[in-house]
Amino acid sequence: MTPMSDVMVLLLTFFMLSANFVKNEVVKVVTPSSQTESKVPKSATLDIMIKPDTLNKGTAQEKIIGRVFLATDKVVTMENALDTLLTKDFTKYKKDFYNNNVKVEKLWTTFKAETQIGVPMKDLAAFLGKTHEEMVKDLKAGGVPLDSIDGGMSEFQFWVKALKAGYKKWYKDVTDEKNETLSASEKAELPTKLDICIKADKETPYSTFKLVINELQDIMESRYKLLTQYKKPVEEKGE
C-alpha cells in the first residue's frame, strides 16, 4: 500500500502546484492553435468571447452568427461598469436596479456572481431575477448586441468603455496612499489598465470578428491579445 500512497501524494502535489482553475463560464469556446509562446496576463483582462451559432439550421436561411460575451476577472470592475452605464447611458433601466437610489441588493449580488455579461441591457434586470437553469438558457441564446443604438455607439462599445473606466476607478481607489488593503509591492504589480483579450471560437465567421474589431477601433482600442492554444512547431524537411 505504501508505494501507492506515495504515488498519490506525488500526483496530488503536482496537481496542486499546477492548479489553474477552470473558470465557471456558461459559454465555452474552443480557441484555435498557434505557435506563439507568450503567456496571457494573469490578472486584469477584459475577455471578449465570441461563440458562433447557427440560425435556422437546416433551412434555406441557414446563417452562422457570432454571439459576443464579455467577462473580466475583477468583480468590482463589473459592478462599477454597470453603475456607470445605468447612471449615464442607460438611465431608463435605472429604476430596475435602484429603489429610491438604494441598490436592489438581490439583483446586484446575482450580477456580481455571474461571470459573463451576455444579455441586452433591456433584459438584464429580468435575466438576473431568473433561476440558474433559465439563465444558462438565456445566455446561450443571448449575446451583447453589436448594432449601434440610434446611429451612435452599440451596447458592446458602451460595455467595453464602462469596464475599462470601471477598472481605472478601482485601480485609483486601491492604489491610493490611504488605502491599506494592499501592500506597496502588490500595488506596484497591478496593471494600470485592462488588457483586451479576444477569445473567439475556431469556427467564428470572419464577418463577426471583423465587426467586433471595427467596433473596438471606433472607440480607440487597437491593441488586442488573441487567445490561442499552443501547438508544437512542425519540423521542416531538409534541415
Partner: protein, 264 residues
C-alpha cells in the same frame, strides 16, 4: 508459559491503516484533476491601425512585386495572388491555390521561396536565417541576465523584420551594429536609408466574410513564423470578389454591384 506471553506481546502488529488516507487522497486528486486546466492559453498580440490614420499613403509606397495578397476563403481554402506589375492587377491567372502547413505547395513554401529579384537567397528565407542566428545567440547567453537579453532579442528581431539583417553575424549578435541601430531608433531626426535595407515582403491578408477565425489565426501565426515585417488585414472589396469569381474552383459568386465603383 510466562516467557511465551512476553514474546507474543513483542510481536504485536504495529502497521498503521493507510486506507482512509489513500481514500482521501483519491478524492483530492479527482477534485484537482476535474477542476484545473493544464494547458495555459497563449496570447497572440494583434495591433490594428486606429480608424483615424488609415494607411493610404503607405499602401502606395509598397512596390507591387514586393506585395503578396493572401485570400482566405470558406472551407479552409487559401489563395495567394502575386503580380509583378501594377497593370496585371485583376488577372486571375496569377491567383493560385495553396495548402496550409509546410510541405510542397503550401503557403509557407510559397512565402519562403518567393524571390522577385532572383537574389541568391530569397528575401524571407534570408530574414528567417537571420532570426535563426539570433535564436542561437539568445540560447547561448547565460541565464542570469535573462531580462536584459530578452529586451535585446525583441529589439534585434524587430530590426531584422525591417530588413536590417547585419545585426547578427556568425550565429551571434553583432554588438557594434546593434548599438548603432539602437542609437538610430532613439534619434528622432534620423532618416532611414531604405536602399541599404534587405528586401522585405509585405503581405495583405484578405479574409472573406465566410472564412473562419481559425484560418485567420493560422495565417497570423504564419506571419510570425516567417518574420514578415509588415502585414495587414484588409477588407475584401468588389475588385477582389470579381477577381476570385473569375477563377474556377473558388466558389465565389461575382458581386452584384458594378465593379467600377471603388469601395474602401
Amino acid at each position: 508459559m510466562a516467557k511465551k506471553k512476553e514474546s507474543k506481546q513483542k510481536k504485536m502488529n504495529v502497521r498503521v491503516d493507510f486506507t482512509p488516507m489513500v481514500d482521501m487522497m483519491m478524492l483530492l486528486i479527482t477534485f484537482f484533476m476535474l477542476c484545473t486546466s493544464l494547458a495555459k492559453p497563449q496570447a497572440m498580440q494583434l495591433t490594428m491601425p486606429a480608424k483615424q490614420d488609415a494607411p493610404k499613403d503607405q499602401k502606395e509606397k509598397s512596390k507591387t512585386e514586393l506585395t503578396v495578397d493572401v485570400y482566405l476563403l470558406p472551407d479552409n481554402k487559401i489563395y495567394t495572388y502575386i503580380v509583378s506589375k501594377a497593370e496585371q492587377y485583376g488577372d486571375p491567372e496569377f491567383l493560385e491555390e495553396v495548402t496550409w502547413g509546410t510541405g510542397k505547395g503550401s503557403i509557407r513554401e510559397k512565402l519562403v521561396t518567393y524571390n522577385p529579384y532572383k537574389d541568391a537567397v530569397a528575401p524571407i528565407q534570408a530574414i528567417m536565417n537571420a532570426k535563426k542566428q539570433l535564436d542561437a545567440w539568445v540560447v547561448a547567453q547565460p541565464k542570469a541576465n535573462k531580462d536584459v537579453n530578452d529586451s535585446i532579442y525583441e529589439h534585434a528581431l524587430s530590426w531584422i523584420r525591417k530588413g536590417k539583417l547585419d545585426v547578427v553575424s556568425n550565429n551571434s549578435l553583432n554588438k557594434a551594429k546593434y548599438d548603432e541601430y539602437d542609437r538610430q531608433s532613439k534619434d528622432p531626426n534620423f532618416v532611414e536609408d531604405t536602399e541599404k535595407l534587405a528586401t522585405t515582403i509585405n503581405v495583405n491578408i484578405k479574409p472573406l466574410d465566410d472564412s473562419t477565425y481559425d484560418n485567420l489565426v493560422t495565417i497570423l501565426d504564419e506571419m510570425a513564423i516567417c518574420c514578415i515585417g509588415t502585414y495587414r488585414i484588409s477588407n475584401v472589396n468588389v475588385d477582389d470578389l470579381t477577381l476570385l469569381s473569375k477563377k474556377e474552383g473558388t466558389g465565389v459568386q461575382a458581386p452584384a454591384a458594378a465593379p467600377a465603383a471603388p469601395t474602401e
